[in-house]
């Protein structure tokens, strides 16, 4: 059974149908790319999975459990971590504290107030920062990081939660070529730890990273399959590749 199973998901914003009976599934340890033209519903699908948007109809189950009605905080606790398309680090907190809070987000309020584990967590925070080349920025407020660094910080925050599925919505947007390359390298070691759903416009990048691709167009699944399959898919070539 798939780790994440989205069935017939529909999301309307007033008249606009952003998602139209979308079926979508992700296997354990699969790297799943989500592509499609602007406005095709990629971010909306990601948000519905993470609980930031409520679907109009359809269901989402994770690890055999129906999570359609679960609030975002509970999905995070169940193992879903998201990096939104719009970077949303906590700007006035330090880079360090952004990670520290991410590490503790699944605990109770009491454990946050009374635990004396701050020292133990320190090593974990620094390790996470080092992995994303942010160790020497630890004491700075997240707001003054460059756009690319904020993206890394967000990925680091999401990973700090030890997710079972990581959702990344356009992690390389606004990055230089060099930064993209580094991001790709940073994602490689994740393979052994969790599944990944990644939205990207950079097809070269996504080819390198993903096992499986799903193509959305106007809120519908156009095609889904291995990278080779999608590259040779006539439907996709007609609707998507020629347009982008």
């Amino acid at each position: 059974m798939a780790l994440l199973q989205v069935r017939s998901l529909t999301k309307r914003f007033g008249q606009l149908v952003a998602l139209d009976h979308v079926d979508f599934s992700v296997e354990t340890e699969q790297f799943h790319g989500l592509i499609g033209p602007n406005g095709s519903g990629k971010s909306t699908l990601m948000k519905c999975i993470a609980g930031a948007e409520r679907p109009t109809a359809g269901s989402i189950s994770f690890d055999g459990r129906d999570i359609t009605a679960l609030p975002a905080s509970e999905r995070a606790r169940a193992g879903l971590s998201i990096k939104f398309q719009i970077t949303s680090v906590l700007p006035s907190l330090t880079v360090y504290d952004n990670i520290l809070l991410s590490l503790q987000a699944h605990g109770t309020l009491a454990s946050l107030v009374f635990s004396r584990t701050r020292g133990e967590l320190h090593d974990e925070v620094m390790a996470a920062l080092a992995q994303f080349h942010l160790a020497d920025r630890a004491r700075e407020p997240a707001a003054i990081l460059s756009h690319g660094e904020q993206q890394w910080l967000e990925i680091a925050m999401a990973l700090a939660q030890r997710p079972r599925i990581l959702l990344l919505d356009e992690p390389t947007a606004g990055m230089s070529l060099e930064e993209r390359r580094i991001t790709g390298e940073l994602l490689m070691p994740i393979r052994k730890r969790c599944s990944l759903i990644i939205v990207e416009h950079d097809l070269d990048f996504i080819r390198d990273v993903c096992d499986v691709l799903t193509v959305l167009d106007q809120g519908r699944v156009l095609d889904s399959g291995t990278v080779d399959h999608i590259q040779n898919s006539r439907k996709v070539q007609e609707v998507y590749l020629t347009r982008v």
């Binding site: 905080s73 995070a76 939104f84 906590l90 006035s92 907190l93 309020l109």
Partner: protein
Amino acid sequence: MKYPPALSRLSFSWYSENAVATVIFAVLALLPAFLSGYVIYIVPQYLLYGVLAMSLALLWGVAGILSFGQAAFFALGAYAMGLAPHWTSSVDPFYLALLVSLLIGAVLAGVVGYFLFSAGVRDVYFVLVTLALSIMTEQITVSQSDITGGYNGMFIPRAQLSFGGVSLDLSADVPMYYTILPIVIGIYVLLRLVVASRFGKVLVGIRENEDRVLSLGFRTSLYKTAAFALSGAVAGLAGALYGTHASFVSPSLAGVLFSTQVVVWVAIGGRESLLGALLGAVGVAALSNYLTAITPEYWQLVVGIVFVIVIMAFRGGVAGALIRLGSRPPMEPERG
């Protein structure tokens, strides 16, 4: 994006606020040695307004939750101080009233907050409900006139403290001053520690981007409830002390006008800083008091104008402006 003052807020401002606070509290501690009479009588009252303002700064400045209900907790605390002598003959009613005022504030805010925040009530809707809380408290204190004295208010004798054989008569101004000042300092220090704690950081995160904090897995409604309960407890405690200090409480203490004044103090002083809120309350209360004497017709107008000018000139209030002034100019921080 505009350069945020966050860097300064974390390093510069933490230490400099501590330094400024130390100086101010030291001056306050020495004040009765140099002054006597009205100043020594009135300063504790302003400081208790300051505590009320800090209770709002915690909620509004840190967690981004604006409440117009702080006066309700304050008034209930004062009524608890007035009523406590009727409840007990064995325990010292002063201590009992302090405890009860803390509990009333915490429980009322906790219960109201829990239901509102878990239902997803935010922003202006929360403001409206807390405003209603003030109005209801005012109405109840009016209608329960058998207990509260209704519109006429209630006289509260100043407490006589006794601990271990030593007794302290708070009807004199200096003992009252030295009872209230340490409590105010204690509350300030406690709230500073709360803000700097991980709990405080989650509250900052909620202010900046609640959905993000939620998607990290924090049950944000619990954090907001806890912040509101703490704020209610602090406001209640301040109210109890105010009751014994002023020797009087009336329904207007819970009213919309007073609730609004609290918001004005904090906005002028600067909601980003607890000290700013404290001093904002002291400053505006002193100014209002002074103006009532010289121009009884226009003092509210003058305070209103000051409010508009401060808010238009610097949105973060006086403290916010000082923090920005003290922070380093925007520049790329050096690496390494």
